[in-house]
């Protein structure tokens, strides 16, 4: 699940971080124009996720998600809504560039709060999209863009843009397919260092975001994880801008206050 949210946020972040580089070249310009439409922080989401494993078994979950940025610190709070047995379970991810991240966990069944160190290693376990996350967390000038060409997807001409970190230690890369007329991202393909396709993220059902004139959000994000042979279908049931989010909104209940 965290995997899906990461993909979603990564796609958004990947796009937004490079906004300042607009006009540097064709690929960069296309990329930035596409990113400009997306909301990436200070927002509230209601997500419904179906995860299908390699044997075709489906597990359904839903989450309430808050995302905010306080200075350099990025916080994500996920509260389980479904299934009933997990309702109220809360996880807060805190990420600070250059520092060890923190994962805080609240389990309502026993009222316990526990913390986990969010190392790169355990973040890698969360999902293969971590590579993009690492790219997006850098200065946009550290990213390299390349226009690979055009292709027709669903009757619409799209640009294919390759994005990778300038100092790409593990040589993984992503290819974004962007509609040439609306500049909406259709899908993101991630390749590993050997050039093998590890995942495809499809973004669709774009809707305008209330309160923002030029913001559109994909309401459906489907991910095919080839490595883990897993399919994730995430539907955004609700998205709202939350400029009012404060640090207190990212606190867990006191252990004592819970039975």
């Amino acid at each position: 699940m965290r995997y899906s949210i990461n993909i979603y946020l990564s796609a958004v972040m990947l796009i937004l971080i490079s906004c300042t580089s607009y006009g540097q070249d064709d690929a960069r310009a296309i990329y930035i124009r596409a990113t400009d439409q997306l909301l990436s922080e200070n927002m509230e989401l209601l997500l419904e996720v179906d995860i299908t494993d390699k044997k075709g078994r489906v597990k359904g979950k839903s989450f309430e998600v808050l995302v905010a940025k306080f200075g350099d610190t990025e916080k994500t709070k996920m509260i389980w809504q479904k299934p009933e047995a997990a309702k109220g379970t809360t996880v807060i991810f805190t990420e600070i560039p250059g520092k060890t991240g923190l994962i805080e966990v609240f389990t309502p069944s026993n009222g316990k709060i526990r913390k986990l160190k969010a190392t790169q290693e355990n973040m890698n376990l969360v999902g293969s999209e971590a590579k993009i996350t690492s790219m997006t967390s850098r200065d946009p000038d550290e990213l390299i863009f390349k226009l690979l060409g055009e292709e027709v997807v669903g009757g619409i001409t799209c640009y294919n843009i390759e994005v990778k970190a300038r100092e790409n230690t593990d040589a993984s890369r992503g290819v974004l397919t962007v509609e040439s007329d609306t500049y909406r991202i259709v899908h993101i393909t991630v390749f590993d260092k050997s050039g093998e396709k590890t995942s495809i993220v499809e973004l669709s059902d774009y809707m305008p975001v209330d309160g923002y004139e030029h913001k559109f959000q994909p309401m459906r994000i489907q991910t095919e994880d080839f490595k883990n042979k897993k399919h994730t279908d995430m539907r955004v049931l609700k998205i709202a801008s939350r400029a009012d989010l404060r640090k207190e909104d990212f606190q867990l209940p006191d252990e004592e206050s819970v039975d």
Partner: protein, 693 residues
């Protein structure tokens, strides 16, 4: 599941663990391996300053004696690591490879072997698990074919030459065998049947049996040459054809009838073997009756072939036959009495016969696979499993507590190596939420929601595979996995009964399953197949002999030596602890089919001698000293053919070879001693023909 084990004096050291890690990483990338579960996946879960420390047990490979000691102590404390990967004395560490069931064993194991070669080390690498056993069986079948076939052919050539002392006597039966093998294997290929552990017996059976008819022809040809002062080869060939046509057809039919008894086996390869061997033997009979005398007539007779002083074997056979003749003519009652006694002793052994279809028992303890099996069973709790499947609210504390009770109860059983269940994992997870002095630490939670939330948090870190070992994707089914240190059928049956008894009141237990259960069913098939084929073969023999001699008494008489041989055979198996398995289950059909021939040849000649006016004792004497020679050569041919099996790679085939030797020898001795004694005592009417003048 495949187990790859590194064995050394002490495996907790930097180089061994580095090698293990490299192997685990490489195995994970091999197509056909769903996942590689290694000690590096084991999580050390604890609470420290409010932090859940959910760290890999082997995050980094330690160096130095103190670090090794600390790691060993952490391994002992971690129930997942100490149960599944390391043995108590740290002489062995294992990797568990979960195989994609659709992937071919051979391709995968070749790739695993290649990977192991890329990462050499001083540790011995052993591999175990069902796919490895299956692979070893198919590889050893191939080796067996390459080795046993030429050895059996050489033994046959040796036996034929030493028996007849002329190359005609070697060449003729040999060509019959080769041609019948071509026919049988051709049909096998046409039908698209594969060579299995059972059908690997086909060439050996044909080498042993298909030349029997030719042997009688050659023996009779030499008998005529001896008797005739100026023998004409055409006349001799015509005469041997007339003499032996009927007994050969009859013995051939009884052999085919006996072997066709295998068709009643529920095991398909046994039925295939029965059909293919019967076709080969039928073809050999035709060749022996028509082709062999025709070919023989082109040669010149070799006179006095057996008079050479250097020829010790025929002289020995002749001497032996004279002894037998004297024995049966002087002490027929004592012979019958001793035979009854032997049969009675054999019957007592029947009660000790056990059935075992454990394929792990196919290999000797000295072979690589045999040693791997021993290590897995002795040190890692065994590689054969029985699962108790639970369904419903499997995360509820009530179900988990019952599982815990079953686990405790089963672990107390000496045949149980290890028991793993969601309880092990959930208790381990509780260590991440509770302090050691807190209630709840290393315990099953009080609510299903808490269990669910433990698992949810645990899987967030990418540990879904660890959970799926015990609980299915949607937490609707779970299993308790019991490994067996003793994979024998009797222990397995006992444990299954115990599990059934233990869980009979449990509404969440769906069923008890596992490949082990299939094996038990196979064992039942072996027993029922054995009984059915035995009864059918006996009936065929009885009916055929009754028809041939036009007397039911002939049928009964022919069954006597077979019964003695069967009782002795199974008695010996019982006394020596040789199990009835998929190979030895074929014994009775083959023994009846082949063993009855000697009785038929004796009775046929005896009746002829009686018709020539000899009294019973004289007829028995003449029959034994003439036809007896062919019977001995025939039996020797079968014995030597099957003797090759005693060097097989498979334990059941080695036992099978030895038991065929014993049973055929019993049939031979019965036909040469017991049957003559009975006919001398009881003087059955069906052997009385009109006296020829």
């Amino acid at each position: 599941m495949i187990l790859v084990m590194l064995q050394a004096k002490d495996v907790v050291n930097h180089s061994t663990l580095t090698r293990l890690k490299d192997l685990a990483q490489e195995f994970d990338n091999i197509d056909g391996i769903d996942r590689c579960i290694s000690p590096f996946d084991a999580q050390d879960i604890s609470v420290e300053d409010g932090f859940i420390l959910m760290e890999p047990l082997l995050d980094s490979i330690p160096q130095g004696v103190a670090a090794y000691k600390a790691l060993k102590s952490r391994i002992i404390d971690n129930s997942m690591a100490s149960r599944f990967f390391f043995v108590d004395d740290f002489t062995l560490v294992s990797l568990i490879l979960v195989k994609d069931s659709k992937y071919q064993d051979k391709l995968l194991i070749d790739e695993i072997n290649r990977t192991i070669k890329i990462h050499p080390g001083p540790e011995e690498v052993l591999m175990g698990g069902l796919p490895i056993v299956r692979y070893s069986i198919s590889e050893n079948i191939r080796t067996d074919m390459y080795i046993l076939l030429p050895i059996a052919l050489l033994l046959m050539v040796f036996m034929l030459y030493t028996s007849f002392k002329e190359w005609k006597g070697v060449f003729m039966p040999f060509i019959v065998v080769i041609m019948s093998m071509i026919i049988s294997f051709g049909i096998m290929a046409l039908l698209g049947w594969q060579i299995s552990l059972i059908t690997v017996l086909l060439p050996i059976m044909l080498i042993a049996i298909a030349n029997d008819y030719g042997i009688h022809m050659i023996a009779r040809y030499q008998e005529h040459v001896k008797r005739s002062p100026e023998p004409s080869m055409v006349q001799i060939c015509r005469q041997i054809y007339l003499d032996l046509k009927r007994p050969i057809i009859i013995t051939g039919l009884t052999t085919i009838g006996g072997i066709l008894g295998l068709l009643t086996h529920t095991m398909i390869p046994a039925a295939q073997l029965g059909l293919l061997a019967s076709i080969g033997i039928a073809f050999a009979i035709m060749l022996s009756i028509w082709f062999l005398p025709a070919m023989l007539s082109y040669f010149k007779p070799v006179i006095k072939v057996n008079t050479s002083r250097k020829n010790t074997n025929p002289a020995f056979a002749d001497r032996l036959l004279i002894h037998f003749s004297k024995l049966v003519t002087r002490r027929p009652r004592q012979v019958v009495l001793v035979s009854v006694l032997v049969a009675a002793i054999g019957a007592a052994g029947l009660f000790f016969v056990r059935v075992d279809t454990n394929i792990e028992g196919y290999f000797s303890g000295k072979s690589d696979i045999g040693r791997a099996i021993t290590q897995v069973n002795d040190k890692l709790g065994g590689s054969q499993f029985i699962s108790i499947l639970f369904t419903g609210d499997v995360l509820s504390p009530a179900v988990l507590n019952r599982m815990d009770d079953y686990e405790t109860e089963l672990l107390a059983d000496p045949s149980v190596g290890s028991v793993s269940s969601p309880v092990t994992l959930i208790k381990e997870l509780s260590k991440g939420f509770y302090h050691p002095d807190e209630k709840g630490y290393n315990q099953i939670p009080n609510t299903a929601n808490e269990v669910y939330q433990f698992i949810e948090i645990f899987t967030m870190g990418g540990n879904e595979d660890a959970v799926e070992q015990f609980i299915d994707y949607n937490y609707e089914n779970s299993r308790l996995l019991v490994s067996l240190t003793d994979g024998s059928n009797s222990e397995g049956k006992r444990l299954i009964n115990k599990m059934q008894e233990l869980t009979k009141e449990d509404p969440n237990v769906k069923f008890i399953a596992g490949s082990f259960i299939d094996r038990i069913e196979l064992a039942d098939m072996v027993v029922s197949g054995q009984i059915k084929s035995l009864v059918l073969a006996m009936c065929v023999v009885f009916v055929l002999l009754s028809l041939v001699f036009k007397s039911a008494r002939a049928g009964i008489l022919s069954v006597v030596p077979l019964s003695v041989a069967i009782l002795l055979l199974f008695g010996l198996m019982g006394f020596f602890g040789i199990a009835l398995d998929i190979a030895t289950a074929l014994l009775s059909s083959i023994m009846i089919g082949v063993g009855i021939d000697y009785t038929i040849h004796f009775l046929w000649r005896f009746r002829k001698e009686r018709s020539m006016g000899h009294d019973h004792k004289e007829a028995a004497y003449i029959t034994l000293t003439t036809t007896g020679r062919g019977i001995i050569f025939n039996a020797l041919s079968v014995i030597l053919g099957f003797l090759a099996l005693t060097i097989s790679n498979f334990t059941p085939l080695r036992f099978f070879g030895a038991l065929v030797v014993i049973s055929i020898s019993t049939c031979l001795v019965s036909a040469l001693i017991l049957i003559p004694s009975i006919v001398i005592i009881f003087k059955p009417k069906f052997l009385e023909k009109r006296i020829q003048k």
